[in-house]
Amino acid sequence: MSNLTEFKCPNCGGPLEFDSTIQKLRCPYCRSTYTIEELDAQDIENNANEPISLEWDAGTSDWKEEEIDAMAEYVCRSCGGTIVTDRTTSATSCPFCGNPVVMNDQVSGMLRPDLVIPFKLDKEAAKEGLRRHLSDKKLLPRVFTEENHIDEIKGVYVPFWLFDADVRADMRYRATRVRSWTEGDYNVTETSYYSVYRGGTLSFSAVPVDGSRKMDDILMEAIEPFDVTAAVPFSTAYLAGYYADKYDVSDEETFGRANERIKTSTMSTFDSTVVGYSGVNPQGVNIRLNRGMAQYALYPVWLLNTSWQGQQYTFAMNGQTGKFVGDLPVDNGRYWIMALRNTGIVALILLLIMMFVLR
């Protein structure tokens, strides 16, 4: 059953949006606010009364099969316009009337997320985040700040796989302890070698891996960490007013990355239990993971796209913590000026010190 949900204001019929500051749905027309629970009840009602079918006729088009597979078409319940999106989009806005809509079939059934971290920060916070990101960057080309304009700011619920894991580790180290003392005319150094063994268990919870192919994996890791304790059981009402994707990379495919990070963490955690030595070298590492069920969650991310001199710059902000990332262009001329100027200043100070102090 494919359909499109629009949360209508029970008061005036206007389209509701999720307001991150009050963590409720709000009507931009009559300013009524509703909690998720209130709306969830109404949502079921809506679906019962007005089922909306996917209107899709593959036979009359010249689309190729794989393109058809990748596309979905919906009819906007506010204005009746036809919305064409890809199949992984689960929330968007209508290109005709601008009203936020949620594709129910993309979030229902087995694709339905277990958890969602609602947006805590709004669009203004994202703009402010970009402003701060651009400030205090001495080697950023001056004109970048002036010329670049934000093409698009969108709040996106990005699908993440969350992995819980219990880890059993057996670690062997070769450690050394060095003592030095003087004996008559000799400096004596004694190096003692130890065989160190550490075995134990460790738990990780909700290690996230980006489950969307559209999203840059590195960009998504860069805005981590997310605080999963603030996550709530999923409700489509949270998606109102935002974009949302559904996963298109399975949990099995993404687990490799989580495994890698868990292993690194486990090693460094056990390494830190080997104390009192001057040198520690891992000799043997045996780490076994006992992984629990993967959870499917939507995490809030603000994406900002700007272009400058024909190049696209993408920034991402953690919609929960406000952590802002995004690579910026380097002004090479200013880099050299700065390097040479600082070289000159330090050299001059050194020369003055040599002349007036070290004499």
Binding site: D136, K137, L139, L140, A175, T182, D185, Y186, N187, V188, T189, E190, T191, S192, Y193, Y194, S195, V196, Y197, R198, G199, G200, T201, F204, S205, A206, V207, L219, E221, A222, E224, P225, A258, R261, I262, T264, S265, S268, T269, F270, G326, D327, L328, P329, Y335, M338, A339, R341, N342, T343, G344, I345, V346, A347, L348, L350, L351, M354, M355, R359
Partner: protein, 401 residues
Amino acid sequence: MKTIRKIISLLAAVVLLILSGKPVRAEEGVLFQDQDGYLTANELDQLNREAGQVLEDTGLAVMAVFDESYTSCVQLAMDTAEGAPSADGIVLALTEKEWYMYPFGKAADVFTDEQIDALWDTAVAEPDNLSAMQAYIRAAREVYLYGNMSQPVITPVPSGYRKPRVVDDADLLTYEEEQDLLKKLDEISERQNCDVVVVTTNSLYGQDVTAYADDFYDYNGYRDDGILLLISMEDRDWALSTKGFGITAFTDKGMDELMKQVLPSLSTGSYYNAFDTYADLCDQYITQAVEGEPYDIGNLPDQGFQPFWFPLAAAIGAVFGFGSASREKSKLKSVRRQRSASSYLVPGSLDVTDSHDHYLFSRTTRVQRPKSSSSSGSHGGGSSTHISSSGSFHGGSHGKF
């Protein structure tokens, strides 16, 4: 008077010669005999005592005889030697025109012709007859005991006179350079009331370089405060000798620093530049000592600009300059993978169930500690002193160039 006495004694000698059939023999066992009145009776007594002491100590009879009645100096010496109280000895015989030194016994093997000449020079360098004979006794004893003299080879100038402050015996400077340097040293010495002297020599005549420098300063009428730079071309030695206020003004460390700036010119043979630098630095050091603390450890003169400072400062500057620029550059890159999953570690979940630390073995290395190369004198700063042959205090340092 003298001619009459000479005639009388000549006549007497002739009479005695005729009477005894052999020449008048000098008095047996007496070391110093003066028939000519060069010395007073008291002076003779003193010399006989001193020579007697030497005889007692070493078995060497140091003798002298003055007798103008002899025509042959050699004959006089040999006759006197016959009456010597010891089998080994040396006789200085003096007639009207000649002198002759006759070593006998074991002494004949010790005293060379040059040493005999040096003995004579040492004696005649003294201002009066008594001290000349004393110097002769002392020098003869030293040659007999040690094979050479530690006595100054330097001829002292008469009191009231002073040698010029530039003595270029090795002829390292042109006439004009010598005059310029002399003018400069005289000006500094007069103004500072502290003699600044440069001496060059071709040979130390077997003496120690420090002793030579000290003696040169002591015996040439320089004032009691000063500094002397000696250059000996024989073995390319240099020495500094300081005296009086010079010891205060030129500390051991100070002299080190001073010579560090003089030596490069000395080594390349630009002697005038070296001495000119030396003169300027001496002036600076004396002024510093007069006006405040002398240059010493922790209080060293401004060495001026060192050319190697440029690349050194530039290199350190580049490390900082490019380091700061690169740090600024790295601020522009913020999209990075997470290395670990530490943020998702369940707090308190770490449970180390097995933990063993087994001692395996030890390895011991012994490395000899580097010996501290600095001499003890340079630790505390100040000036170390020694006593020269004339008994005065000197500071100084020396080396090769």
